[in-house]
Subunit: 425 residues, 2 copies
């Protein structure tokens, strides 16, 4: 038993909008534990919609349509479904009344086109739309035909407007699916997050978990971060966690410090938790990130507890005047050097009187690189409460682009800070 | 002749990520004038990928795959395509060398798994990936088989990582498609960008352009910005511009200062251009944005010409010590006030000795709001070269969330600066 999503709308094929509806429904199906193997997008074209239905109803038992329920001639979803399954469209007087009332309450004139929205296939149920004028349907076109192989086929339709679709899904579709015995077991998942290790290296280390069936373990990668999704199907969250926890603990033990958090945790929120626990404060001195490191730290609500501020020292003049970097150091080693990073970190720690500080200086590009110091070369330094300053070199490569280099600089620097705070008992 | 998009990845079926790749490719196909009638999403499962290919290659002539090119065992795209079309996978020595070099340049260890990424079907061309280790392929599996009905079939594969996919699309796929005679009449479009005016207000003002057919004019809205897409189909850019320019000029005249740029222009890049023209410099003093304003200004390559630096003054202590804000002002008006914003702007202008400065202070939430000063209330101030300081109040609303409020604060403040610089002859 599985569900399939069919999104109808030429605007999706033109790339005018992101398909947020498919993502929402996918998340909902996952959390209801209803398997879902295919998504389709097709335009406002009767033949092509018929073609997609022909494919979908043979491989899936729940077909979820979004879009194409509007009043205009190119809104074809209901008509296409009805004609494909030899259904007769009937006008529903109570839907007409509802549509008229909605127009009246908004002091808008109803056009004759809108009456089309009151047509639903004989034998289908209305899936009410409280906000908009486009109701959906719940239809089991072969229900009662005992020998029919698709006797179980269920069709649900939703408008393309995300807020209406979501409300109709929650209010009517989910309760309906549960009465059918679907969605009784829910899939819970934990996204475990890692830094400082590549996807393939982590995958090799935790290879033996990938064959598990309950929980399942699957790797994902994004810029500068690797994730493992540990997911289990169970009747309650508690039961799911009993399956997930032991595996997650083993993975943590294998990954060591490369594991930094779960789900919504970010490197900045984890650093924030550590600083809050230790009642310590931090300041930043930024060259190539131009404020991005401070911005990342203060993405976390409540960061004012531990973050005081910093200096954006983009020019050498500001590095000297505001952070006390020696002009000799700049002359001798250049602005992008471990020496300057260290003086920047010391300077801001003293100036802001914080327990910790981080500095970054690097070449974000696209210009300014040399053979010796190419675009993507970054130095960070961390000044710690014991008076030590430690610098780090990151080679981020020229090809990630300015934005990528700046983003990774902030991530990598914060990750080094996280590891240092954890080491400091 | 039409193209079809096939996105492979269980993370899409679980709703873990939005399908931004499908949207990007859809936009690109539209701008190349290549018809595109279907999109598919399928998980990391060999049989189901085969099933989708079976359907797609009979109804479309260009199959564009994204995802499933990674090094792990559940990355199946290349393998699935090769086995479906009876291709033999061959290891490419130059790809192995390239992958090894990428690991070396990042000082990372390569795992044996990564060698899988060097396998491509015999007869296919490599679609090079400059940034990542997952190359794509361009393959015409029936090319040369004269009587074969799918002789024209072309397969393109891309990794799921959006930045890599986009670069590969632009650098290699688009030129390749053009050599095949596709995309010869191209849709050129100019995205005109506006700030400080709502979508419906702008739409009302330029209403009469929406019925044009060449060029077409269509409105889009995103956070804090409205855009008008002016698009024309033509054989060359020059011919398209002859259609687009007169309409764009009329729109500019109507919109006045609310129009700020085209296409890739950002509010920060436009401010940068103005400052460069006038050989003036700027500094920032940031409270609620925590560095985000500086980060936005320095997103622009070459911003060191006019941006010197700034102070992130998250705590009141830093506002006093580093920016010279009076503690009485803080006591009397509170940190979120026009008075404090003005003192911050003056303080940083003097400290950094720049022509201009901007300061921001506000309540980004989710906590810290009061009835008098709700979440979303922000003050910005701009100190100008003539010694004046002007403050602005933004009411950004509680519902945009912390990230939205911080982002809009930076955008709005820079837009005020843009208008002030333009006014100053």
């Amino acid at each position: 038993m599985s569900a399939e999503i069919i999104c109808i709308g030429t605007e999706l094929l033109l790339g005018d909008i992101l398909n947020g509806n498919a993502r929402y429904l996918a998340q909902e199906l996952a959390s209801l534990g209803i398997p879902h193997y295919y998504q389709n997008v097709v335009g406002d074209n009767l033949n092509r919609i018929h073609g997609v239905i022909e494919i979908a109803y043979k491989r899936s038992q729940i077909l979820i349509f979004t879009g194409g329920l509007g009043p205009t001639p190119d809104d074809l979803t209901t008509e296409a479904i009805a004609s494909f399954f030899d259904g007769t469209l009937e006008s529903q007087p109570e839907l007409i009344a509802d549509i008229k009332e909605k127009f009246a309450s908004r002091a808008r004139e109803m056009s004759e086109n809108n009456l089309k929205q009151a047509l639903i296939p004989q034998g289908a149920d209305v899936l009410p739309n409280i906000t908009g004028t486009a109701p959906g349907i719940i239809w089991q076109p072969f229900k009662g035909e005992k020998d029919h192989p698709q006797q179980q086929l269920t069709i649900l339709t939703f408008p393309g407007v995300p807020s209406e679709m979501k409300q109709m899904w929650q209010d009517t579709a989910v309760p309906f699916l549960k009465t059918q015995g679907w969605g009784e077991e829910i899939i819970y998942s934990r996204m475990m997050r890692f830094r400082g290790i590549g996807e393939s290296n982590l995958a090799q280390k935790v290879n033996h978990f990938f064959d598990l069936t309950s929980p399942t373990v699957a790797p994902y990668a994004s810029m500068g971060e690797v994730r493992l999704r540990v997911a289990a199907k169970a009747k309650t969250l508690e039961l799911a966690e009993k399956l997930i926890n032991p595996v997650a603990e083993q993975i943590k033990a294998i990954a060591g410090d490369d594991y930094f958090g779960d789900n919504e945790d970010t490197i900045a929120s984890v650093v924030g938790k550590l600083l809050t626990q230790k009642r310590q404060t931090i300041s930043v001195a930024e060259s190539c990130t131009g404020g991005g490191l401070g911005a990342m730290l203060t993405e976390v609500a409540g960061s004012s507890t531990y973050f005081d501020g910093g200096v954006i020292a983009y020019s050498n003049q500001v590095k000297i005047a505001q952070l006390g970097v020696c002009s000799q150091t700049l002359d001798q080693y250049g602005a992008v050097s471990p020496q300057v990073a260290e003086e920047m970190a010391k300077g801001i720690q003293q100036k802001m009187n914080t327990d910790w500080s981080i500095s970054v200086t690097g070449i974000a590009g696209p210009d300014g690189g040399t053979e010796e110091k190419p675009v993507g070369l970054v130095y960070a330094a961390i000044a710690s409460p014991d008076g030590q300053v430690k610098s780090y070199e990151f080679k981020l490569g020229q090809k990630r682009g300015r934005a990528g280099i700046r983003y990774l600089t902030a991530c990598y620097a914060l990750d080094k800070l996280r590891r240092q705070i954890m080491l400091m008992n």
